[in-house]
Amino acid sequence: MEIKVLGTGCSGCKALYATVEQVVKELSLEAVVVKEEDLMKIMEYNVMTLPALVVDGRVVAKGKLSAQEVKEILTR
């Protein structure tokens, strides 16, 4: 599984990245977590709210998420 956190480096984006990393560790998922901070690449995903969460190339959530929400998304 490849998890991408889209964000231009704002505080909410950093927070989401940290949350995702923590959830991945907690559930010991086999996943690569990467940050995408390049705006031109981010816009290819057609999102208008940042941060956004991309799993295996598909946008699965946007906006600020709690650890609980991230857990639900990743275990789906």
């Binding site: 231009t8 704002c10 505080s11 981010i42 816009m43 999102v47 208008m48 906006g63 709690s66 929400e69």
Partner: protein, 322 residues
């Protein structure tokens, strides 16, 4: 109630005399600070709730797919008022709008209002100037967005967007993401929203303390009508001068409003002060660098120039009407 608490704290607990200048200034400081912090927290929570549930994609489709006879400027400006302006939302939204085939003028309407009307500015205005001035500020912010967006739209500025935005615009389609986000129940969302509102309050706390501190000091020590001799209404250059001074200034609304409040109390006309505030909050250099990603310097120049001009005109208008 807050006044009673401030009285108790300063005159009771600290044992200062209400008649001394220092006691009065300190009382003013605590009263303003507590009031503004409470207001800021609640307004941030309300804005957070609206933001969490606002259907941005639907608004975009709505704006691009229907003939709205000018109302699209109103919707875009209103939308700008309720969203915060930051790197994490404004530029993606700008591009999202352009990509969705929404005219540049309408997108500008959003871009003008977004930094101008925000939770911090609104809370500070209610706390210091009261509801009436706040309403005037918010309504003129939205109007400025509408008119500014309309005029900029008529100027045909598309060639001055950066190249990759132009490419996006050519391939525009009103189709947005094909997925629908599940709605998290309100009860689960609320703690996040409250935490975020608290984050906003904490983020500007220092500015508020410094701003109100300076304000309280001036409130106590600067004589009434002191500034009147320099910036009275009959000085025609007072409005443009204060606006032009304000544009490169990057001050948080949290820090600047309490100081301006005292300026007004000591004799600066409210219109001049409001114009100054709008220029400080609405136009700033960090914003320009943020916009550099989507616009050429020339377009940023035209955009800032026109808005500066409109703010100056608004300043004159306020001074006549208010």
């Amino acid at each position: 109630m807050i006044q009673k608490f401030a009285d108790w704290l300063v005159y009771g607990l600290l044992g200062l005399e209400a008649s001394t200048t220092f006691g009065e200034a300190l009382n003013f400081f605590f009263y303003d600070m507590i009031k503004i912090l409470i207001l800021l927290f609640f307004i941030s929570v309300i804005m957070g709730i609206i933001n969490a549930y606002f259907p941005i994609d639907r608004l975009r489709n709505y704006l691009s797919s229907r003939k709205l006879y000018g109302m699209q400027y109103f919707f875009a400006a209103l939308f700008g008022a309720i969203t915060p302006f930051c790197s994490c939302s404004s530029i993606p939204l700008f591009i999202g709008f352009v990509k969705g085939g929404i005219p540049l003028g309408v997108t500008f309407a959003y871009l003008i209002t977004s930094p101008l009307v925000n939770e911090v500015a609104v809370a500070m205005f209610i706390g210091t100037f009261g509801l009436r001035v706040t309403l005037i500020y918010v309504i003129s912010g939205v109007l400025l967005g509408m008119i500014g967006g309309f005029v900029l739209g008529k100027m045909k500025l598309e060639p001055y967007l950066t190249d990759w935005v132009k490419q996006l615009q050519q391939h525009s389609s009103s189709e947005s993401g094909t997925w629908e986000q599940e709605n998290t129940p309100f009860v689960q969302r609320l703690p996040m929203i409250v935490r975020e509102a608290w984050g906003i309050v904490r983020g500007v706390l220092l500015y508020i303390v410094v701003g109100i501190g300076i304000g309280a000091f001036m409130h106590g020590y600067v004589p009434e009508g002191f500034f009147e001799q320099y910036m009275a209404e009959d000085n025609w250059w007072a409005v443009p001068l204060s606006v032009i001074l304000a544009v490169p200034m990057y001050a948080n609304a949290a820090g600047i409003v309490p100081v301006i409040e005292v300026f007004v109390a000591k004799g600066i006309p409210i219109g001049t002060a409001l114009a100054f505030m709008m220029a400080v909050v609405g136009l700033s250099l960090p914003e320009a660098t943020l916009l550099k990603k989507v616009m050429t310097w020339r377009l940023i120049g035209i955009f800032f120039g026109l808005i500066t001009l409109f703010i100056v005109l608004l300043g004159y208008l306020y001074n006549i009407v208010l």
